[in-house]
Amino acid sequence: MIMKRTKWFFDHEKEEKWLNEMGKDGWQLKKVKARRYTFERGKPGSHEYGMLLLDAVPALSRNSRSYIDFMESSGAEYVSRCFRWAYFRRETDQGPFRVYTDRDSLHSHYRRVAMMNGLIGVANVTIALSNLERGIEIGWVLSNAIVSLPFLWAAYLYVGKMRKAKKDEALYE
């Protein structure tokens, strides 16, 4: 049995949480394509899901391919990919599955996500402004401006996560 859902997340940690809740209900993730999730009916709670942000799509980056290989050699299963986000899962009986387990790596992960969203957001604002200046139809200007909003919001959200991850550092290694 297959089920499809379309959903948009600003916060990938909420996305992971949702995927894990779906998994606990017996819907195991099969594929993610352009924010459309395909689930397959399976054993409830058999796997735990985790996501990571690749440097680039694997076809263009050796580094991304070797990252995926490494994840697989460490006992995780590569499920799917959507743009630069890669989805992995691991059997629950192998213990809790978290991709990042210390503040440093979590912090740099948040930074990468913030940068990616920030760049897309700023690029869209720049296009909107330059179109405005060139007197291009206001509809186009607005559409770029509107597209930039979710990305800028996500970047803001992740800068907050970076701060939070840094906060404890004065006391804990």
Partner: protein, 107 residues
């Protein structure tokens, strides 16, 4: 170069250096660290990947053996890595000794 010998290592970095006193691949490192810490330190693969990359760049560890290009890539500690791990051990011993004196009052 800045002397960072007195800088504490993260727990994960210290355990990785210990684990690599024998050549191991990613999964082997995760398992070994788990065992050494009695299941307390469960290193995520993303964290381990980043740490291995950093340590290789610093010359503390290096790819090991003929499979160095494949997915079963193994790593091993270098002389520099051994020196870093030994310095950390010394630091930890000092911390522990002072703690024993003051907290347990057996000076």
């Amino acid at each position: 170069m800045e002397n960072r010998d007195s800088q504490p290592l993260t727990e994960a970095a210290y355990y990785i250096l210990l684990a690599l006193h024998e050549p191991r691949h990613g999964y082997g490192i995760m398992q070994t660290v788990r065992e050494m810490s009695r299941e307390r330190v469960n290193m995520g693969p993303g964290t381990l990947y980043g740490a291995l990359k950093n340590m290789t760049e610093k010359g503390w560890i290096e790819p090991f053996g003929p499979e160095s290009e494949s997915r079963k890539k193994e790593y091993s500690i270098t002389d520099e890595g051994r020196r870093i791990a030994a310095a950390e051990l010394e630091r930890l011993q000092e911390l522990a000794a002072e703690g024993v004196k003051i907290i347990l009052g057996s000076g």
